[in-house]
């Protein structure tokens, strides 16, 4: 069967999220290139319901990992009540290992994010947008605060934006280092000044979010797509990339490749094409494994990526997920046991401690894998690990336990020989 990319003519693709413009992060350059024109159009010409309808028509799916249709999420907001404020949270926590696209987007094009938040604010009649940025990105917070202050000075944000009667604030919130804050309900707890323990859903954020008010949470890249969709039209957006998961996508490529970094291409790129773009494997080595979308998604063996494209449908068929499109390429010398040990350590460190299956399970997972990595494991430990995964999945408030279990389950399943070789033999040879 012929291998087909869903990205169309990607070689002549013109970047839109990070267009090749010098100093685009500065407000005057951004405005010279048509910045905030979409906001003007939305505020003066469009009705809120048209904004949401246009977002729905574009088939944009969230870029934060879960891939939920954005327009549908926006339409979940309840009808406006005059005395109840409504909020937007922009999830800029980005702590998924292997993901670094949003940091680059915020550095090079912060105004598209501000414009996207304001457009969303008009579509859903919001009072304010809280930008939750992880504490490690201190330099980028300063950078964004500077640009945001410029936008406030130019009357683009705040009271009577662009001379209209619309008001909306953008507030930057600095986190302090917790992976769990990337989960939407725990992000809201953190914003409210509490320990970031995830909440039980329902009620969903659209009914009861921050300070019990209706809230929508979107990823940075998702919000950055909103001005493009409303400026150029939903049809234009839907025509880019894979049919069921269209649009521009930031691929964060890392690992043993010659040119790692963030690349913007349409969705639905062939994995093999992306590897070629990133300069191929370092030192001419062979590919062993690929993590296509951050730590939580199942790892793919090199023989499983043939003909697979980077979109939700294709990766699901291949046995993995798109996640955040933070791709980690690993070469033939990679020790998968050491990899899994590090992943387990990560989840053990980052489990918030609210639910027992996750708090205890991630710890035992790390202990078992450490034992195997140290050469003291038994073959039965592998099955014990798989059983542990069963005990964790779906038994906790949030999805962190599932996210910890999937890589363990799939790495053992797909690289079982590597693990068995490190374990003590189950049957000892009889010395005749």
């Amino acid at each position: 069967m012929a291998v087909m990319t869903k990205a169309g003519d990607w070689k002549s693709y013109q970047r839109v999220l990070l267009p090749p413009v010098k100093n685009l992060h500065q407000l005057h350059v951004y405005r010279e290139h048509g910045g905030y024109e979409t906001l003007k159009k939305v505020l003066t010409e469009m009705e809120p319901q048209d904004v949401t309808a246009e977002m729905k028509r574009s088939s944009l799916r969230g870029r934060g990992g879960a891939g939920f249709p954005t327009g549908l999420k926006w339409s979940f907001m309840p009808p406006v009540k005059p005395d109840v404020p409504r909020y937007l949270c922009c999830n800029a926590d980005e702590s998924e290992p292997g993901t670094f696209k949003d940091r680059q987007l915020r550095e090079y094009n912060p105004h598209v994010l501000f414009e996207g938040s304001l457009v969303a604010g008009d579509g859903m009649s919001l009072k304010a947008c809280y930008l939750y940025v992880r504490g490690e990105y201190a330099d980028w917070i300063t950078h964004m605060q500077k640009e945001l202050a410029n936008a406030y000075d130019s009357k683009l944000v705040g009271k009577n934006m662009l001379g209209t009667k619309h008001n909306m604030d953008i507030i930057i919130h600095k986190g302090a280092g917790a992976y769990i804050c990337g989960e939407e309900t725990s992000l809201m707890e953190s914003l409210e000044g509490k320990r970031a323990y995830p909440r039980i859903k329902p009620p969903f954020p659209a009914q009861s979010g921050i300070w019990k008010c209706p809230t929508t949470i979107n990823n940075v890249e998702t919000l950055a797509c909103a001005p493009l969709i409303l400026g150029r039209g939903a049809d234009w957006f839907a025509s880019i990339g894979a049919e069921k998961n269209p649009g521009p996508l930031l691929y964060g490529i890392s690992g043993h490749v010659n040119r790692p970094g963030v690349y913007e291409y349409p969705t639905g790129m062939l994995i093999t094409d992306l590897l070629e773009i990133a300069g191929g494997m370092r030192g001419g080595k062979k590919l062993k494994a690929l993590i296509p979308g951050g730590a939580s998604v199942p790892v793919l063996r090199a023989d499983m990526i043939e003909g697979v494209t980077m979109d939700i449908e294709s990766l699901r068929e291949a046995g993995s997920m798109l996640g955040t499109a933070g791709m980690l390429f690993l070469d033939e010398d990679t020790d998968m046991v050491a990899f899994l040990r590090r992943v387990a350590h990560f989840y053990h460190h980052e489990s918030c401690g609210q639910c027992t299956p996750c708090r205890e399970g991630t710890g035992w997972m790390e202990n078992l894998i450490t034992r195997i990595d140290d050469g003291e494991g038994n073959l039965r430990d592998l099955d014990l690990l798989l059983d542990l995964c069963d005990q964790m999945e779906g038994r906790t408030v949030c999805a962190l336990a599932d996210a910890a279990a999937w890589p363990v389950r799939n790495t053992i399943k797909r690289f079982r020989e590597d693990f068995e070789r490190r374990c003590r033999p189950a049957v000892w040879a009889v010395n005749a």
Binding site: L18, P20, V21, K22, N23, L24, H25, S95, P97, G98, T99, F100, Q104, E107, Y108, G135, E136, Y137, D139, D169, I171, H173, G175, A176, A178, S190, L191, E192, G193, K194, R195, A196, G252, I253, S254, G255, H256, N258, R259, P260, G261, V262, Y263, R282, A295, G326, L328, L330, D333, A338, F339, R341, R342, F346, H349, E350, C352, G363, W364, N367
Partner: protein, 224 residues
């Protein structure tokens, strides 16, 4: 956890800890108070401002012992328990005294397989301090941290919760240490996108130091 099973003792915090700061030190200046008021005004309740205020307190005092947490709680009219809960939940708030300069070396898997552990070992040797500890002179603290979101420029580290140091090599660490010893502050480094390198001949920002090198050094050992 294995340690806990061997020795199942829970150490409760000291109910009457010795104070690190005197009462005269434990005040916010008028300028700091106005910053706190600005933060409080950004949220419907003063609870929201607790994270920003803890950052301010950490900047001012270096770390967050109980008396500083009490100061924050009083300033925001919150219960002490809530501020304590927040401060102990997040890893970037320091509960005990750290060195003057803190190195956070990323060893999460992208960095792990590009030599993050070698960078950590090199720093251990160079600073004569074990990971997770502060050097005897009290100048440096070395920590192993989870993904810092710069996987494309692995291995990397963060200095003092501030600037990122990308594409580390032993030589680069020597340069960083030398400039820190000379009392210089480290610049913000902007990583060039590979596509910008092709289409624009380099970094798009002209107001930041740009890092245009993409090739991280050949990978050394892979196990921990």
């Amino acid at each position: 956890m294995a340690e806990f099973i061997r020795n199942p003792v829970v150490e409760l915090p000291d109910p009457n800890p010795e104070a690190h700061f005197s009462e005269e030190d434990l005040v916010f200046t008028e300028d700091e108070k106005s910053r706190i008021t600005d933060w409080v005004n950004q949220y419907p309740t003063s609870d929201g401002a607790v994270m920003w205020t803890l950052w301010l307190a950490q900047e001012k005092f270096g770390f967050l012992p109980p008396e500083v947490l009490q100061l924050v709680a009083t300033e925001l009219s919150l219960p002490y328990a809530q501020v304590y809960g927040v401060a102990t939940f997040y890893t970037q708030y320091y509960k005990e005294k750290k060195g003057q300069i803190v190195f956070d070396v990323c060893t999460c898997f992208s960095c792990q397989f590009c030599g993050g552990y070698d960078i950590l070992a090199y720093l251990e040797e160079k600073l004569d301090v074990k990971r997770g500890h502060t050097s005897a002179c009290g100048r440096y603290t070395l920590q192993e941290v989870e993904c810092l979101g710069a996987c494309g420029s692995a291995p990397m580290m963060q200095v003092d919760n501030g600037p990122y140091m990308h594409n580390l090599t032993p030589e680069k660490i020597d340069t960083v240490l030398a400039s820190l010893e000379a009392g210089q502050s480290l610049p913000f480094v902007s990583i060039t996108l590979p596509q910008d390198e092709d289409e624009m001949g380099g970094n798009r920002r002209t107001d930041a130091d740009a890092e245009e090198r993409y090739l991280t050094p050949p990978r050394p050992r892979q196990t921990q």
